[in-house]
Subunit: 317 residues, 2 copies
């Protein structure tokens, strides 16, 4: 295998971040088990700090800064949970954070980043504007750029989620996670490989943002082209650090429609009483769609986050 | 004290129902602690079987049936969670269940009762129609009527919720629960009295359905008059078995407005990622409104259930 990641990287990450993160519990649901015909073990990272697994990777990256780097803080570009997570991790470590966000980000996410004390720099909603603005911020502040996923410390942090799941539930046959940039998926695959026994890793991806599936099938990274899925956390492209791991260790990527994502999300709200965001429902949607693949198995399903804009929903009560 | 309930009744109920119910975990939230200025320990009974604490009381009542009673099953009238809970408890025990529901009940609740295999009998949405229809059902089927709250086995079952909370969290100063018929509140007060050390019990109640507060202040039951609060689980009146306990053991009842209920519910969805129903948010709304009362204390807050009609909310996504 061409992968330079070692189990010790993930173990060290876990030890390092453990005092700061929640060890999220495992949820089960008799109705969903019955419906899918498998034993599902849900890892609800919507209950994680900042409402998403991103707290793990961001905290690990911040804790890995050298002393000289700490005083200038950290910077990133993010429309979503990584921005909140980095702001939170920086605040916990009493260092500055700068988050470049597209001007069309949901207000709830901008407010949340600011709520953790980070400086938000708004930019045009294009990848080019994001990267240029970030470069300016880094040049001006000397902050260390923490990439949302294409960063080995972030990946090691995200890997702790599946490591925990494997410690909590014995005899898993499979784990299913959503894929976007691949930070969580590559980490999940690494943990399954190193800490599991024949645990097969699958991904779910919105059909409207199926660049990971295309890349997986083609054997090379095919970037996403401004996809417009309701799963707003899954719109970015794979990275050159995440893709090789995914290519080598993931069994398959299942794409799901917008309706399938929303139906799965609603099932979780209704049946499990958990607020998950559309991106988080993609893993369950993939399991439901491909239930034959999982028949009779013990399947870990990662709910990635729960940061939903509730304004419109509550307007109707 | 004039109360005939003994600790052993609650202990036996807990032993009896334990194999069937979830021991719901305790949730905490740094944001809410900070906002209220107290340490809050949430008991999320929205994660309970059937999505509400009512599973406890219904199961205890069903498990207390005599052998001769079991074959004719159980009956009740309920627009909400008690109907589902009794249907579930009956199904678990393989006995028939008959649930009289007002014809304007949310479809999701009618479907849920039927989903557990119970027979639903719809009636006009008046108390008189409910009681008459129930009497007919009981006469025809020989089923045992299990009152939603004014039943000592139901009360003992509901009391197990606070008993668990007291076992899970040491040194609680107070517990806050919503009040409607008083099954949960009387059970909570009994458990705090018997199993807690100086644990003060408070209730939250919608101002639009403030019959319990009126009754508490007047020292006699003042029935509710068809109240129209968004907290649809809190529209009924106190019972002659629940009120004496509440009068004797509860410190105060705090009323909250519709806006306060919905704001508290939204906070829980947004910050704790838990789907709770409006009735469940009444306890937190009361704590927020009266935070001076709880300053610096360790406060248990019961979230009663999570059965919300999501159609309208999801129509807007």
């Amino acid at each position: 295998m061409n992968i330079t990641f070692l189990p010790i990287d993930i173990e060290k990450a876990h030890q390092r971040i453990a005092p700061f993160i929640h060890k999220t519990p495992i949820f089960t649901n008799a109705f969903l088990n019955n419906w899918v015909g498998a034993e599902l073990f849900f890892k609800p990272e919507n209950l994680q700090k900042v409402g998403a697994f991103k707290a793990r990777g961001a905290m690990n990256a911040v804790l890995n800064l050298r002393e000289a780097e700490r005083k200038n803080g950290v910077a990133t570009h993010s429309s979503g949970n990584h921005g909140q997570a980095l702001a939170w991790a920086a605040a916990q470590n009493k260092i500055p954070a700068f988050v470049v966000m597209p001007s069309n980000s949901p207000q709830v996410k901008i407010d949340a980043v600011r709520g953790y004390g980070a400086e938000v720099i708004l930019c045009e909603p294009t990848l080019q504007a994001r990267e240029e603005t970030l470069a300016e911020v880094v040049a001006k502040t000397g902050a260390t750029f923490i990439h949302p996923y294409n960063n080995v410390q972030v990946m090691a942090g995200q890997a702790t989620c599946a490591k925990e799941l494997l410690e909590q539930i014995e005899g898993l046959n499979a784990i299913v996670a959503p894929v976007s940039g691949g930070g969580l998926l590559s980490g999940t695959a690494l943990s399954a490989h190193y800490f599991g026994k024949n645990v097969r890793v699958f991904a779910g991806e919105p059909a409207l943002a199926n660049d990971a599936k295309q890349s997986f099938d083609a054997g090379k990274i095919i970037p996403s082209t401004n996809p417009n899925t309701v799963a707003d956390g899954l719109r970015t492209s794979l990275g050159d650090k995440t893709f090789p791991i995914i290519k080598e260790l993931v069994v398959d990527i299942f794409t799901v429609t917008e309706d399938e994502i929303l139906a799965a999300m609603r099932l979780v709200w209704e049946r499990m009483k958990l607020v998950i965001e559309p991106s988080a429902a993609v893993s369950l949607a993939a399991v439901i769609k491909h239930k034959k693949q999982f028949a009779g198995q013990r399947v870990g399903v990662i709910f990635t986050g729960g940061n939903v804009e509730l304004n419109k929903m509550f307007a109707n009560i």
